[in-house]
């Protein structure tokens, strides 16, 4: 019996979500639709009883700086500390890791011609932690293996590279000789731009098209350039390519369990839950 991928979750990540959570704004009119949107995803995840979450995310200049910036970085530690992003550490327990699986993943990825920086210490930031409490309650019910992607300092890996990385993740899981229940998460986006005169750019039409394509025709998304992502969704929305890593880890056909979209301020908050069709 090998490990297997039960499904995947695509989700935005944002400091604003963490802020709303920590301030207890879940019932406020501005935030209630967002938090309500996560309830079905949380219920699905609990029902899956996953042992392990592989999370594609990006570090927002908390663990890594431009002195040495990895294109891909894999957290292989027994646990992952929470980063102080410049306004204090959040009040959550560290994330449990799975060093045995993560080292297997490192070996499998590198044999597959993906070469992540291997990190025995990888403090994680809102790229994971802003949404993890919306998907499950602490104490964290599953180990987390974080896989950080450079979506900040160009040149970035291409959308197609992330799509292929997803395939490599799938091969790695299926070659692990332990009966683990795995869910893959891709985080980031959807449309948002956080700098310049175009600050606040949001494009719900494109975000929803992205969600359609991700479900049914993900290879179309793999063919788009960074410039296309940035033009249609804002410069920082290029994070959306990380959802392709999640989708690529699933089979060609998926069953959509849940989809939610809400864009009240400066980010198109998206959420999609897929199950592998057996």
């Amino acid at each position: 019996m090998t490990a297997r991928i039960l499904g995947g979750i695509g989700t935005s990540h944002a400091p604003s979500i963490a802020h709303a959570y920590d301030k207890g704004l879940q019932a406020e009119p501005l935030w209630a639709p967002l938090f309500a949107g996560y309830a079905p995803a949380k219920a699905w995840l609990a029902a899956q009883r996953p042992d392990l979450l592989i999370v594609l995310y990006n570090d927002h200049m908390n663990r890594f700086f431009f002195d040495a910036y990895p294109t891909f970085a894999l957290g292989v530690g027994e646990r992952h500390a929470l980063a102080d992003e410049g306004w204090g550490r959040r009040d959550f327990p560290d994330l449990p890791g799975d060093a045995d699986f993560a080292w297997h993943l490192a070996e499998s990825l590198i044999a597959d011609e993906f070469d992540p920086t291997i990190c025995q210490e990888l403090a994680v930031d809102h790229g994971i932690l802003s949404v993890l409490p919306l998907l499950c309650d602490p104490p964290w019910p599953a180990a987390v293996v974080p896989l950080a992607v450079n979506v900040i300092q160009h040149p970035l890996p291409t959308a197609r590279r992330l799509w292929k990385l997803g395939h490599a993740l799938r091969r790695a899981v299926h070659s692990y000789a332990k009966n683990l229940r795995v869910v893959v998460l891709g985080t980031g986006g959807l449309s948002h731009q956080l700098h310049g005169e175009r600050f606040g750019f949001v494009n719900p039409e494109w975000d929803n098209r992205f969600l359609d394509l991700l479900e049914h025709e993900p290879e179309v998304l793999a063919s788009y350039s960074h410039r296309q992502y940035m033009e249609w969704g804002g410069a920082e929305s290029v994070e959306m390519i990380m959802w392709l890593g999640m989708r690529g880890a699933l089979g060609p056909k998926v069953r959509r369990v849940h989809r939610h979209y809400y864009a009240p301020l400066i980010t198109g908050y998206g959420l999609a839950v897929y199950e592998n069709e057996q």
């Binding site: 400091p15 604003s16 406020e28 009119p29 501005l30 927002h60 200049m61 908390n62 700086f65 431009f66 002195d67 980063a83 102080d84 992003e85 410049g86 306004w87 204090g88 900040i152 300092q153 160009h154 040149p155 970035l156 291409t158 731009q193 956080l194 700098h195 310049g196 005169e197 175009r198 600050f199 606040g200 350039s225 960074h226 410039r227 940035m230 033009e231 410069a235 920082e236 864009a263 009240p264 301020l265 400066i266």
Partner: protein, 123 residues
């Protein structure tokens, strides 16, 4: 299929109102961004707030960069090669929010900016 580098693609046309954070910007803004990165340590935030001039000198900031930090001129700091995620750490340390930064970068008041948002009525 011809080889197409990311830089070539970016040079094919600037996106309006956008400063794509590439190698040129990362080189230009290195010291500024390094200062901002240091603010992930609480002790450094206290030092920066206590003696901002000495702190900026210690990171080798130029006069134009220091002036932009003093004026909280985020648009100028982006032009100086600042990365938005790092500038956000400076802003948070001095008590500004991302929305305030955004309004300034757009050249409008926070109220005027918020009036354009669908969620404004729910605030």
């Amino acid at each position: 299929m011809p080889h197409k580098s990311a830089m070539t693609e970016l040079d094919a046309g600037e996106l309006p109102g956008t400063a794509v954070f590439d190698g040129r910007r990362s080189r230009r803004g290195y010291r500024l961004n390094k200062l901002a990165m240091s603010l992930t340590e609480p002790a450094n935030r206290a030092r920066f707030l206590g003696e901002p001039e000495a702190y900026m000198d210690a990171f080798g900031l130029g006069e134009a960069e220091k002036d932009a930090v003093r004026r909280r001129d985020w648009a100028a700091l982006i032009a100086a090669g600042g990365n938005i995620y790092l500038l956000l750490k400076i802003a948070a340390t001095v008590g500004q929010t991302l929305l305030q930064m955004g309004a300034q970068m757009r050249g409008e008041s926070l109220d005027a900016f918020m009036a354009t948002r669908p969620g404004r009525s729910a605030r």
